[in-house]
Each structure stands twice: as C-alpha cells, then as structure tokens.
C-alpha cells in the first residue's frame, strides 16, 4: 500500500493527512516540535496508527470479540516459536493447572478460578526476570486487591482491571505483574514512557505492565502491550534486528493474533524481546 502525506491548517489546527491508494483518508492532529512546527516523523507515525486501527487492527479487535472468554486458549510466541499456552480456568486444561496452584500456592489469593475469565498457563521461562525454571502464570481479571498491592509494594494511582502472578515451581518465588494504563505509565516514569514510544512502530491501544517482587522491588524490564498490523511488525523487526516472535511460514498464526508485546529494559534502554499473542478456544 502506498501512502501520501500532507500537512494542512484547518480552523487554526495543524492537521496531518494521509491517503492510501484505495482512497482511504486519515486526518490527525499533527504532532508538534518544541517550536510548534510539525514533527514529520511523529505525525506520519500517528497517522499510520490511526490508519491501521481501522483496518488490520480492527480485524484483531473483531477476532477477540468473537471468542468465548471462558473457553480461551492463548498462545504466546517469542523468539520464533510458541513458548506458553494460557487456558481459561474453567477448561479441562485450566482446571488441571488450578489444581496445582491450589496444592502449592493456595495462600496467594482467595481463589484462582472465581472469575471464569482468569487464565493460567505452565511454561519454562525464556526471558528475564523470570528464572529458567518451570513456572505457572496466573492472570486474574479482577482489579488487584489491597492485599496483593501491599504484598508486592504496588502504589499506582491507576490499575487496569487485571494483574498477573508468576509462580516459580522450583523456588516457590512469586512475582506480580501489575498492569497499568498508558497515562499511569507516563505519570510514574515519563522517560521510559517516551523512550518506549520512540522505539515502537505505529500501533493502537497500548498499556503497560511492571513486575514487582515481594520485597517491593520493581524489575528493570517493562512490558508494553499494543495492537498493530502484522506486516508493519515484520518490517519493524527486520529494520531493528529484533527476532520476530513467530514462524512466518505458518499461515495459521496470523489470523489468530490479537495483541503484541515488547520487553523494554530500562537499564540498557533497548527492546530486548518482541512477543505475539494468538487466541483461539480449546
């Protein structure tokens, strides 16, 4: 697809326009430099985000909406292959993992399956900060309780209405993943927020996760999640020498994609991993 860009002023507002060769028009408020001139790069990137939001990203949104949330099977792709499968807690596979959690980690939350949307998965960690042990991932789709926040030293002003716990089945260590909206990430660490957004390709609907341990330490690796066009992601990974998360010769994956994730290391100030998430039912 070929895009054509222009910058116009309408009713005293600077607007960046973008048209594709099929006649679709995007108009966005231009991103400005400090001297109020149009920032070409950021404005074009913003326009492309809005373009894909209504095309291929909308396909991902529609895909999510078509799935029964209580029968979910999510596959995480990293470094070119599937690394984890999450199941809704009411499925046969989910119930088996919940039984393990009840046996070994029963004190962490009052119930692992009180919300039928909760997800659980067993995996061997392939990236920091998780130990290279067998782990169990638990996503609770209720807002974190004060008990959970206090246990892991989370003091955010805004939380998304879910959080994750990561159980190391060898050491019994537990980490918490607190999920926060874009505005909260900007509030708590604007430098990291800006650095991440400068690196990301055009995308929509971003949110963040920060990992806390029981000593209230916040890990240097920050997760950012977003929806984006697969071809844009491929091109972006190639340009930046990031390992694409899945096997692109497998044509069954792309129609099931619903979200992307990146791991950003705040010490090295680089994106270290790119993840893709595919959703189907058991």
């Amino acid at each position: 697809m070929t895009f054509t860009y222009s910058h116009i002023t309408r009713d005293s507002i600077l607007i960046t326009t973008m048209t594709d060769s099929d006649g679709r028009l995007v108009e966005v408020p231009s991103k400005l430099n400090a001297d109020n001139s149009v920032n070409e790069t950021l404005s074009k990137k913003f326009a492309e985000s809005i373009y894909y939001q209504n095309t291929t990203v909308q396909t991902q949104v529609n895909h999510i909406a078509s799935i029964n949330a209580t029968q979910v099977k999510d596959t995480t792709y990293l470094n070119g292959s599937a690394t984890r499968t999450d199941y809704a807690v009411g499925t046969t596979q989910g119930q088996a993992i919940v039984a393990t959690l009840n046996d070994d980690f029963s004190g962490e939350v009052s119930s692992f399956d009180n919300n039928t949307m909760n997800l659980v998965g067993e995996y061997t960690a392939q990236r920091p900060p998780y130990n290279v042990n067998n782990n169990i991932s638990f996503y609770n789709f209720d807002a974190p309780t004060d008990t959970i926040k206090n246990s892991f030293g989370a003091t955010y002003q805004e939380y998304k209405k879910w959080y994750g716990l990561k159980f190391d089945t060898v050491t019994n260590d537990v980490l918490a993943k607190f999920v926060i909206p874009e505005s909260e990430m900007k509030r708590v660490d604007v430098d990291t927020y800006n650095e991440i957004n400068a690196l990301l390709p055009p995308h929509s609907y971003q949110f963040y996760a920060r990992i806390h341990d029981k000593s209230s330490n916040i890990n240097e690796n920050v997760d950012v999640y977003f929806q984006a066009d697969p071809s844009v992601m491929k091109s972006w990974c190639t340009t930046n020498s990031y390992t694409f998360p899945y096997d692109t010769t497998d044509n069954t994956i792309e129609p099931l994609l619903f979200i992307w994730g990146c791991v950003y290391n705040t010490t090295s100030e680089t994106i270290t991993h790119v993840k893709a998430y595919a959703r189907t039912t058991v």
């Binding site: 009713d11 005293s12 995007v26 108009e27 529609n62 949330a69 789709f141 209405k161 909206p181 874009e182």
Partner: protein, 198 residues
C-alpha cells in the same frame, strides 16, 4: 434549541438567546470574532456563497440526539463499553441521522460510540450508497451519563477537531486516545446515556 423561525435575529445575543447565531453555533474557528460566513458550513453552504440572516431561521446546531444503552464487555485485556451495532453491543434508540453533512448524504447511521481499551471511538456509515461527507458534518460530541435527555451539562464533550479521522466511501470513524477509564466512560455495567451531536 433552534433559532426562531421568524423575526429579528442577530450574530451575537442582542436579539435574545434564542435569536443568536453565535449562541446556537458557538465560535466555529475559535478565534473569538464572529462573521456570518464562518457559519456557512452549518447551513450546507460553501464559502463564498451569498448568505443572509434569514438563512438561519429555524437553524439548529444539533445534528442528532439520541438515547443509548451502553453495555460493558469485560473480555480479557481489552475491555470495552458503549454501543457497537455490528457486535450487538448495547443499543441506540435512534441511530439514523436524517440529514447529514452538506445535505447530499441523507442515509447515515451511527455504528458505534464506545470506549475500547481507553480509546473513544465514534463511527458512521451510510445505510445505503457511499459515504461522501469526509471529516465534516459535526463539531462537538456531547454525552450525558445516566440520562435519557440532554438536560444540564454534558459529562463528556469532545470536539471533532481534537479527534483523529479515518474514512473512505464505506464510512468514517473518529477516535481519541485520552486513556479513558472504562469505569468512567461509559461504565462497567449497562448504563443509560444520551448523545448530542452538534
């Protein structure tokens, strides 16, 4: 409230609030000064067309008003709330806009007004034919939470100019990412709301 259908009307409020062009349509270009020709788009006229005060008899800034029921869909990771016709999410009492844009576009329907993962999205499509109004046709989107009319002040008021537009002959969407909390816009349960499109 529409401008009166006869008698004296004024650009400002000298003739009374229900006789004021500025009072009905505001300050379209936001520059604090007012001339008749800056209101031509509200009448379906083009810049340069002849315009007179009588053209504003009965004119209303309201493009459309309707009650709608917002439904919350939790989902995992990407909750949404509001109205989405194609997804069967919520409902809108009257989602058909009888006259839209320059007047050539007469069969427009509202397809969505919802908060998807913190982004507010408003969508229009032609009921038949093609969409030809582009990024125009309204100036302000007002939502009154928990109401079935537009009484009082709007709880959410967004100008079209602050939103991003994405459209072609199949329809148009406007969106703005303000990190809208789902609990606030439009709530985490089914709620009655009122839309006023100016």
């Amino acid at each position: 409230m529409a401008i009166v259908a006869s008698g004296t009307i004024s650009l400002g409020t000298a003739a009374g609030t229900n006789r004021s062009i500025k009072g009905e349509f505001g300050d379209p270009n936001g520059d604090g000064t007012f001339t008749l020709d800056e209101y031509q788009s509200f009448l379906g006229q083009s810049s340069g067309d002849e315009i007179s005060f009588s053209d504003f008899y009965g004119a209303s800034a309201s493009v459309h008003t309707t009650a709608f029921v917002s439904v919350y869909q939790a989902s995992q990771y990407t909750p949404s709330s509001g109205f989405l016709e194609s997804g069967g999410q919520g409902s809108m009492t009257d989602n058909t806009i009888a006259s839209y844009g320059s007047g050539n576009q007469t069969t427009i329907k509202i397809t969505q007004l919802r908060n998807y993962a913190g982004t507010l999205i408003f969508g229009l499509e032609p009921s038949s034919g093609t969409y030809d109004a582009g990024n125009s046709g309204w100036t302000t989107l007002n939502v009154y939470y928990g109401q079935t009319d537009a009484s009082g002040s709007a709880d959410l008021s967004i100008s079209r100019g602050s939103m991003s537009y994405n459209g072609n002959s199949s329809g148009a969407t406007w969106s703005i990412n303000g990190s809208y909390a789902t609990g606030t816009v439009f709530g985490e349960s089914n709620t009655n709301n009122f839309l006023e499109l100016l």
